[in-house]
Symmetry: C2
Subunit: 295 residues, 2 copies
């Protein structure tokens, strides 16, 4: 019973409640992975050998558990851990949306509090506790996440230790915001956390000001973000020079479909995955959805 009759209005005659922040966050995860071309990442038209499109679909559905918790006012750390556990529960691709969720959970909380602004998101981030940091560390036990080495003198806080690092967290009385401060010099998501989600809100405004189908807007937002700042996942895996070169090529390719396609092929061939840029794109899509971008 599928047909192609388009709705001709903007929803004025519908009697259903608008999407909740949790629904918008799940949809943002789906739109992010569907947006194409998104060079170096899985998208609607590209799979990797062991990480395929359907893994992201199942990851988004599973993450909803934690997003619902966040929208209901649960602590950020608890909601994040639940989201990551659900993400990993029903697919064999491993880590699909850990970084996206790290950005989305506080944004959903800010939306739930009626203040989805840089200030509102900063408030949520700055209000996190040691228990939120505990939830964050526990989340690493659900998925194999690529991270860099911990800061000097903080080996006891290495996230790769997962739950084993919890005593050190408690001893240092480190909040989740404090954890993000320690990582901000080398992780783009942590930088969003401590900087009022500056790039997220900027990209959301660009998506809203853009035109055409939302998946095309998502792909353009990704490329703009990649062109603007080197991706920190690429830097962690391949060094700063490679990350800077990838961003230079993205800047040159913007607006030229053939150049973007060539970049996409090269990044996959070289194993360069600008995953942090995809995370910020998902977060920006969430803000844009909350602000009414049409789908």
């Amino acid at each position: 019973m599928t047909d192609d009759d388009a709705m001709t209005d903007d929803g004025a005659d519908r009697n259903e409640a608008p999407f909740s922040p949790a629904e918008h966050a799940e949809l943002a995860l789906l739109l992010e992975v569907a947006g194409t071309p998104k060079p170096g990442n899985v998208d609607r038209r590209r799979d990797f050998a062991d990480l395929r499109f359907e893994h992201f679909l199942a990851g988004a559905v599973g993450a909803r558990r934690g997003l619902d918790l966040a929208a209901d006012g649960a602590p950020v750390g608890e909601a994040f851990e639940r989201a990551v556990a659900g993400m990993a529960e029903r697919q064999r691709g491993g880590n699909t949306q850990f970084g996206c969720l790290l950005l989305l959970v506080p944004l959903v909380r800010a939306a739930d509090e009626g203040n989805l602004t840089p200030e509102g998101a900063a408030d949520v981030a700055e209000s996190t506790t040691v228990e939120d940091a505990v939830g964050f560390y526990r989340a690493f036990e659900h998925a194999n996440v690529t991270v860099g080495d911990p800061p000097e003198g903080a080996d006891d806080l290495d996230v790769r230790r997962g739950g084993e690092a919890i005593p050190a967290l408690r001893k240092r009385e480190l909040t989740l915001y404090g954890v993000m401060e320690l990582s901000a010099d080398r992780d783009g998501n942590a930088r969003e956390w401590i900087g009022g989600f500056r790039r997220t809100f900027g990209a959301a405004e660009a998506i809203l000001a853009d035109d055409g189908p939302v998946l095309d807007r998502a792909a353009r937002a990704f490329l703009t973000l990649l062109a603007e700042e080197p991706d920190t996942l690429v830097a962690t895996q391949h060094g700063d020079a490679v990350a800077e070169a990838v961003s230079r090529r993205a800047a040159e390719a913007r607006g030229d479909p053939d150049a973007v396609a060539a970049l996409a092929d090269d990044l996959v061939a070289d194993g360069h995955n600008p995953g942090t840029t995809a995370d910020v794109t998902a977060a920006a899509l969430f803000v844009a959805l909350e602000r009414g971008v049409p789908v």
Copy 2:
């Protein structure tokens, strides 16, 4: 923080609850639309002019409201109406998954009752009430659904009248199962309802017995279903002869990627949309997910 490290186990070391029937049903909607090639339908690699992939993503997220209701034991009609309303709420493509949901809602109820079998699904269908029929008719007010003319002497029951047909339903004391009986000769989904979801369970077993990525299995299941029986949406829109010709071509194309691709191009060019076959594919994916098909 996305990487491509695959999980090397089948979930044994995870401490999260398995997916609920509502989660599996939403995932089935997403896997159905992502499966490609699915000739004549939107899929991961094909949009129509006014009905695009992202409309289905938003439709699946919105439908979850009603799927959750069904999984919590709500009446089928109420859950179905809520699912369709949510499906239509946040996208401008119109009817994306009405038929899928008509099959999924009773199957989710059967799964919730611990009896996701042809008998269990038949029990749910046969237990529906006049109020369930009311919910079904109300659902038509949320989406523009392509249907054929009502049976002779049943103009007062034309689903295109939506809520206006409710007095006639009550006067005739017609249950939702009774409505499906009236439509079974010309609607494949109604035939599933009154026939113990025969094709759904058969296709689910084929998906489970198949191998390779689940999206490839979904595409093969679709083509097999289309080859086996003429699609009733095509028949409603273009006549029985066209529907039979489409199925013959599907049978000839099976196993030949070039022929399948040519069929896909031709169906789109001709405006032939085997949507009911896609509905049964989604339902079969749900059963396969509940029975453990890997993602």
